[in-house]
Symmetry: C2
Subunit: 326 residues, 2 copies
DNA sequence: ACGCTCAACTGGCACGCGTAAGTGAATCGA
DNA sequence: TCGATTCACTTACGCGTGCCAGTTGAGCGT
């Protein structure tokens, strides 16, 4: 099924078909002809060849999402689904590529589909970004900084999460701890969140947060808990990187025969299904992933349309889900 | 950067460049010329245009993964990453599209990138599959059946999971319950797993499993637990659809002042991070997602190479992670 | 009756690539 | 010395589009 078939069926030329189906303005084509073409296209079930269109126009209707080597869990999964929806509304197909472990050259990936835009979770170096632009990819954005440095400001800000955690704990607690994830790749996320905690502590005249790396097992987490409880002055409230880490802290407490929030208050991030099911139910910070997805998609679509987009992060309403652990 | 540039740089024709770079056999091209072409390509940083190649050959080097509307959690996330790796080793780019909620016609998706193969998690109807094949997509496979029916046998079998759960519980327990997920879309997975449990119960002369839908909150789960404990004969061991549901059962028990495995033994599936951190730590079934990913990729690659592939499911070693809950 | 305008189309090129068919020079057997 | 063969290439086509630059013919003023 090519546009030539449609042209024959409608009794017009290929050019006319192209004009009608693409809705090209400033071409005087009467309604009757338009209808003939539309009918013919529908009758034949015509769908244009993406490859040919991509070759001609230099880009496809695809937005490529680039995932780093992070675990794909609850929130990230939801974000992917919501980004898919948000882009679909703009007529764009959002697909995700998880960076392979023996990392293939990134170039192979985007060359393989010449996307209209690339939206990466983690920033890449300028050389790569420039190469993409040179290859006709118009929009290249990153949601978070890279481990290497921070060339562009991130599109999604993490500090407010840590700040909200800290502000919630700060009322009854005078010394906070930070439960840092045991996965090096997550620094890009954990760093800024910790910064948010730090800033609030400084603001409120509290001592520096006591940062400890917490592995995802009860015994290992118990070590961290012992460290916090034995600190001087002792830590009484923990901001955890996310709910999994928070659950580990809870398990560590349990391991020592202790309990939140009596011995140590704990607050997580993400509200994974297990959070409300924990003992005690976990207080946690939820972000509005749908708003983030829409915001990101809007930025990309605007940018594709030639509009200037603001440099600040997208709007991201945080919600504190208050339960029992803090 | 086109192959014409490389040709000019190397002082040969475009055809020669194409022959050299694609390693076309039966073309007598001396080593010196080959080297000249390779050098020129490297010097110019040439990478072929996927669009043009796709237009010419009729297909790209992309494998499209189609996700249904399921939550993307731990295992599914890992599977995606491992599939990406497995396909990368075969020189194929694996990208994932999560089906948008106001479901766009599937056709738009694969037309947008003419993948070499489509690997869906959930089966789609034959009309769609046939349309894909007609569009030049050579391999169309589905990992699980569709809600509508079961035209093709699934590539990944779920029954053994339920069977392993049931066999593990069957030793001390004479009546089993099944904790069914509260998300209708998961029937495709939950149904076969439940079948596995049923089969083992029948085999061992035990009564039918008592199936109850378990919502992901403590109060709701407590209702299910009450039902099980009050059944006649009473249920003493629960096979949960996955770890999240199992955690809910645990929380339901806790809500009633009860405890696993004393009052009710519970076994999950997936070994999510929260499983080992639960109270008590959750006994669970782990599948070897890496083997599954490799198996699936192998099938697809073989099939692309024209080889006949077996109809049976891919190999999938199950492991029982024994903890305290059962 | 003749030029002019303008609506309504159409012919044809280029995008970058793979590849079938062709070409000129070198080599070779008789 | 001459046709035949082999080598090492090159020329040229078409994949399906988008869109520029025409072309046709009807309507209109003079």
């Amino acid at each position: 099924m090519t546009s030539a078939d449609v042209a024959r069926e409608a009794g017009v030329s290929r050019a006319t078909v192209s004009y009608v189906l693409n809705g090209v303005p400033h071409q005087k084509i009467p309604e009757t002809t338009r209808q003939r073409v539309w009918d013919a296209a529908a009758r034949l079930g015509y769908a244009p060849s993406a490859a040919a269109r991509a070759l001609r126009t230099g880009r496809s209707e695809i937005v490529l999402g680039l995932l780093p080597d992070w675990p794909i869990e609850h929130v990230l999964g939801r974000l992917i689904q919501q980004l898919t929806n948000a882009f679909a509304e703009a007529g764009l197909t959002f697909v995700v590529h998880s960076s392979a472990h023996p990392a293939r050259p990134l170039r192979d990936i985007w060359k393989a589909m010449t996307p209209a835009a690339v939206l990466a979770l983690q920033d890449f170096d300028d050389v790569e970004a420039e190469a993409m632009r040179a290859a006709g990819i118009e929009v290249v954005m990153a949601m978070h900084g890279s481990p290497g440095g921070e060339p562009r400001p991130p599109l999604v800000s993490e500090q407010p999460i840590g700040a909200l955690q800290a502000r919630h704990l700060a009322a009854p607690h005078r010394r906070l701890g930070y439960a840092y994830p045991d996965l090096p790749g997550l620094d890009v996320l954990a760093g800024p969140r910790l910064e948010g905690v730090r800033a609030v502590c400084a603001d409120l005249g509290m001592p520096e947060p006591d940062v400890r790396t917490v592995p995802l097992d009860a015994a290992g987490a118990a070590e961290a808990v012992k460290g916090w409880l034995g600190a001087d002055p002792p830590v009484t409230g923990i901001c955890a990187f996310n709910d999994n880490v928070a659950l580990a802290v809870l398990a560590g407490l349990s391991h020592l025969g202790l309990r939140a929030p009596r011995d140590l208050a704990v607050i997580g991030v993400d509200d994974i299904p297990g959070a409300s099911l924990a003992q005690p139910p976990l207080t946690t910070v939820v972000r509005d992933t749908d708003a983030i997805a829409r915001g990101l998609a809007r930025r990309v679509v605007d940018s594709l349309g030639g509009k200037e987009t603001p440099a600040e992060p997208v709007r991201d309403d945080l919600l504190l889900r208050f339960r029992e652990s803090a």
